[in-house]
Amino acid sequence: MSNSPPRSHPPLAAPPEGAAASLGRPGGSSERTVTLEVLRYDPDTDSEARFQRYEVVCQEEWVVLDALNKVKADIDPTLNYRWSCHMAVCGSCGMMINGEPKLSCHAFLRNYEGVIRIEPLANFPIERDLVVAPDDFMDKLKRVKPYLIPKQEKPISEGEYKQTPAQLMKYRQYSMCINCMLCYAACPQYGLTPSFIGPAALTLAHRYNQDSRDGGRKERQEVAATHEGVWECTFVGACSEVCPAHVDPASALQQMKITSSIDWIVEHLIPGGKP
């Protein structure tokens, strides 16, 4: 690490062209007044959530997050929401936009007409305004042990755990999850049965199960193969449709149902069988 060059940030004075437009600088782009209908909830004073309308002058190429930032900066500083990277990587700005779970940094205003209705992610308790409480997801994530559990620990002197490109490809897609929780907001089975471990956590379990360096599948099955695990899924497929990272949780869960079923047969129908 010591001889690697220090990471340099792009100079703030000269942001790339697209970023300039995104920051609301005049760049010859057309303006448009957008009406946002935002769900507000203040735990200190409100017993119910309510909608509040904002008229915002926006640039045509903005995303919904830009419009919210403009509201916060110029109209109503009390508005609360989470965001960080503004480039669909960090996964913190998920919200319901016209009823659809979306990253607000990835929802372009040009794709919306009329009033844009913005609500916090469905199926999660509202902490404040557009901020939800992710505690349940965090807890479930921990329960599936989403980390490598080596088959046999070996000393560092024996070198790294090697993997072929084919072995990498086996799980790579499922490793792209950014924990944005859009799949939980889309999943009706999670809405109906909140104890369901849910799409992202189970998919991460699958990701490690599929890893050639891992030996922890048996431990993860103690959670994944229960009623609250994959068996709560009815393959609605909404998780995969809304996933901004193209992870396809629905496919992971169907594969887990098949392998869990084979486990069951080996365990119960084959004498002396161990999964």
Binding site: E222, T226, S261, D263, W264, I265
Partner: protein, 113 residues
């Protein structure tokens, strides 16, 4: 929480779903032709009886009918839950029992042929 025994009901559901997809559309087409007055030769009493009298024929018919019934019973169970009926144990018992009774009846009729 203990591991689920759901595979017992899910495996036949998955098998039945595949059977429905491959077989039921063409079987409906055949009975529909008969209903519209163009009964295919395969639905003549003599031909169908001969097919069902054969051991392999019996097995195919039984497999298609029983797996299709199980698969639809299982999916219907989930649908009841999706429609807001929370008495899952009662719904599951009734539907699975119906599928088992239907399969037993199918077996009895087939053995009479």
């Amino acid at each position: 929480m203990a591991k689920s025994h759901k595979p017992v009901v899910w495996f036949p559901f998955a098998a039945g779903g595949t059977v429905i997809a491959f077989f039921i559309p063409v079987i409906v087409l055949l009975t529909l032709m008969a209903a519209l007055g163009h009964a295919p030769a395969g639905l003549d009493y003599a031909n169908l009886h001969a097919f069902a009298a054969n051991g392999l024929g019996k097995l195919i018919i039984f497999g298609v009918v029983s797996l299709s019934m199980w698969s639809s019973a299982h999916r219907l169970r989930c649908t009841f839950y999706d429609f807001g009926v929370r008495a899952d144990t009662a719904v599951a018992t009734i539907l699975y029992l119906a599928a088992i009774i239907g399969s037993i009846l199918a077996a009895i009729y087939l053995l009479r042929i």
